[in-house]
């Protein structure tokens, strides 16, 4: 009781009616300062029941201050809101005028440009004038839609008139595309082809921020490096399996129609709008906005934005001198610049031990035999393809890569990179130091999900990329394919795949579904890699070295090399250069270790990757033309008691 009394006394000015119980107790205890008669009603709210003159004043001041403070805050907020609102209205009306005039000023040097512009300006002026008086007459929020509507209506007939006039002399860029493909890579092209095949007369618009037409990526780290043609960086042509040459571009420019002609094309076509980036996507309004503020509406949209190659943070922070000497490899320009660098420097270091890093290392390593170029490859894993191949095979592969002339530094984690004495100095965490002239990073891909925010599309937190269903759909009229798609694979579960064949397969599937097919991802895509003349493999499914594996190997003969395979098969885009011809004559010697143990020579075979006893991935190691069997085994998804029996299906001893 006493403590309660003391506390109550202290808190009286603030407690008010909340502590009726305590008050009652106090009264019962007989505490009576004679300031409050016993018959005062309990729900007395104004001043505290035991508040004296001084306390009353304090209390009044406190409440008063709070009230004034609250009022001030409210006024400030309201004023700020109103100011922002007026600013926004002004911005919207100016934007409307700007976009309306822009659509008609896009086509360069049109003769009708001038009359159109003046027409628009004249129309815009009455619009603004019309908007102004109505603004003052009505409260601001209601006015905005009115002003917009009138501006739109005025702009619309103008636009139509403009287009009609324009069509007579020169058409403008389309403001609507029935099929809009964002991104101009492999998946996008495959989708475009699929759409055109299935929807006669389809009008497909590809918008890409790259300057190039759609091209295929694998030759940039493989065939193009083996070409004998000194002008290969210009022609970008390579030799295929059948000896015929082709360009890395899927189709020559004559395949495509101009974007301006797309709307008017009788039989439709595929148009590419290059050098333009889609910066905003309005899913409710079914339209996108480009980086030049142009808007394009669509009926069906494919997002095939691929990804951006990652760089190491230590390099990005290392300053301009280091960045100038670093190639983050992915595009045609990177190939061109690396080719030039390889002819003009003495030492190149590749950071990254996966597919791209290892292929580039082998390609450059081959060059090093002629030019004396030092090629170094470093990565954090224990061996090349350490995340893909089981350890024994990864080690074996690393030895092969070394034979290609590459200095391999394993278990290397880069701590810092600096530019010293005209060289790049790479310091590793374990203290080793590497001095080199140029760095190439091949450390993974960051899927490009820039549009997710404005479009309100889901991004997958495990694999990255846009989350789509088994039919590659993100929304009812939006699909995603290629590197950027995290999709549901009915057999293997949700995944995201960064390979060329997957881009083709998923792009084609997306195109089919955009034209009404409703098929899920079912045909399993594959991938392949060659590391020099001795090591070539094809793979399918989930090939992750952390899974338990069963490898069935036979001894390799001189006939089991990628070179021999390409001459037999018809499925590869491998090509051979003269240097490879001479190299293959010394193929597969006895194991390099002093112990001549033929049993450990992983010449050719099949490796099964298991998840809960079911085969989810297969690598065909120096064994070719058997992919359909591998695909079938994965599709079945059965538990096989003896994988050696399954391996028999591949006839690994035959050619």
């Amino acid at each position: 009781m006493l403590t309660c009394r003391a506390v109550w006394k202290k808190l009286a000015p603030l407690a008010r009616a909340s502590s009726t119980v305590c008050r009652q107790n106090v009264r019962r205890a007989g505490w009576n300062n004679a300031r409050t008669p016993l018959c005062v009603p309990v729900a007395h709210m104004s001043t505290g029941p035991v508040g004296g003159g001084g306390d009353n004043l304090k209390y009044a001041l406190l409440v008063g201050a709070a009230f004034v403070g609250g009022l001030t805050y409210a006024v400030i907020t309201l004023k700020g809101d109103q100011k922002r609102h007026l600013e926004r209205m002004a911005e919207i009306s100016s934007r409307k005028q700007k976009s309306a005039s822009q659509i008609h000023t896009e086509p360069p040097a049109t003769m009708i440009e001038a009359p159109l512009e003046t027409k628009l300006e004249a129309a815009a002026a009455p619009d603004a004038e019309a908007a102004a008086p109505s603004e003052t007459a009505e409260p601001p929020p209601v006015d905005e839609p009115l002003a917009e509507a009138s501006a739109e209506e005025a702009a619309a007939p103008l636009t139509d008139a403009g287009v009609e006039e324009a069509a007579d002399s020169k058409p403008s860029l389309p403001s609507h595309a029935p099929y809009l493909l964002i991104g101009g890579g492999t998946a996008s092209f495959a989708a475009a082809r699929s759409i055109r095949a299935r929807d006669p007369g389809a009008k497909v618009l590809i918008v890409t921020d790259e300057p190039d037409l759609p091209y295929m990526r694998p030759p940039l780290s493989k065939e193009l490096w083996f070409s004998d043609d000194p002008s290969v960086t210009e022609t970008l042509r390579f030799k295929q399996w059948n000896g015929k040459e082709r360009s890395i571009y899927f189709q020559p420019p004559s395949f495509y129609i101009d974007a301006e002609e797309l709307s008017g094309a009788a039989n439709g076509g595929v148009a590419v709008l290059a050098g333009r980036k889609v910066v905003h996507m309005d899913v409710r309004g079914n339209k996108v906005k480009l980086d030049n503020d142009m808007e394009i509406s669509y009926d069906k949209c494919l997002i095939a934005t691929g990804g951006v190659p990652r760089n190491l943070q230590v390099i990005e922070r290392a300053g301009e001198e280091v960045m100038k000497r670093t190639t983050v490899f992915r595009k045609i320009d990177d190939f061109k610049s690396l080719d030039k660098v390889s002819r003009n420097t003495q030492s190149i270091t590749i950071i990254g031990g996966g597919f791209l890093g290892s292929e580039l290392a082998c390609a450059l390593g081959r060059r090093s035999t002629e030019s004396g170029l030092e090629v170094i490859q470093m990565f954090p894993e224990k061996g090349n393809m350490g995340k893909v191949l089981p350890e024994y095979l990864s080690n074996w592969t690393t030895e092969k890569v070394k034979k290609e002339g590459v200095k391999v530094i394993r278990e290397a984690v880069v701590k810092s990179v600096s530019y010293k004495d005209d060289k790049l100095e790479i310091k590793l965490k374990d203290g080793r130091v590497v001095r080199t002239d140029h760095i190439v990073t091949a450390v993974g891909l960051e899927p490009n999900v820039d549009l997710a925010k404005s479009a309100g599309l889901e991004v997958d937190s495990d694999f990255g990329g846009y989350r789509v269903n088994a039919e590659l759909q993100a929304r009812s009229n939006i699909w995603v394919a290629g590197d950027a798609a995290c999709f549901y694979d009915i057999r293997l579960g949700r995944r995201r795949v960064e390979h060329h064949d997957h881009a083709v397969v998923s792009g084609r599937l997306a195109g089919e579904n955009m034209t009404g097919a409703n098929k899920p991802y079912w045909h399993q895509s594959m991938f392949w890699s060659d590391l020099g003349p001795d090591v070539g493999y094809e793979a399918i499914g989930i090939v992750d070295s952390s899974l338990p594996t069963v490898g069935v190997f036979a001894k390799a003969t001189a006939k089991d090399t990628p070179k021999a395979a390409t001459e037999e098969s018809g499925t590869g885009i491998r090509s051979e250069s003269e240097t490879e011809d001479t190299a293959s004559s010394t193929v597969v010697p006895a194991a390099p270790a002093p112990v001549v143990d033929h049993r450990d020579e992983y010449g050719k075979g099949v490796i099964f990757y298991l998840r809960e006893k079911v085969v989810v991935g297969i690598i065909l190691w120096n064994v070719f033309n058997r992919m359909p069997i591998a695909r079938k085994i994965i599709k079945d998804g059965e538990e096989h008691a003896d994988l050696n029996e399954v391996a028999k299906l591949f006839n690994i001893h035959e050619d």
Partner: protein, 150 residues
Amino acid sequence: MSYCKQEGKDRIIFVTKEDHETPSNAELIADDPDDPYEEQGLILPNGEINWNCPCLGGMASGPCGSQFKEAFSCFHYSQEEVKGSECIEHFRSMQECMQKYPDLYPQEEDKENPPQAESGGAPAADGSALLSEKDSSSVASPDGVSAADG
């Protein structure tokens, strides 16, 4: 003589040719030819032409796609004694179109025969069929490799 070893979670088996001579007893599930999910060849189960077949390359999707489709459809459904004899006009207009795009349709094609299913529109095939170079094309071709041979 085959032998087997274990390296951690990875099992390695070395086999000789003799070891693999006995037929496999691994069981594969029979394929359903009408499975709607599967990639189809040139001719769909209902008899129609699959214009999206990788074997056609870009023939049905290029600038001369509509002419090609008309010509090939006419040929496919032709019941004449000499198949496709009534389709000459279609093939002629297709050829005229193709001549306008020499770098898309190289002119060494055999002008007498209509494109066969297997050759898959040879002229543009090498330029565009290799879109899906490796495997996706070989699987979808009508004479594709059958999985369960044994």
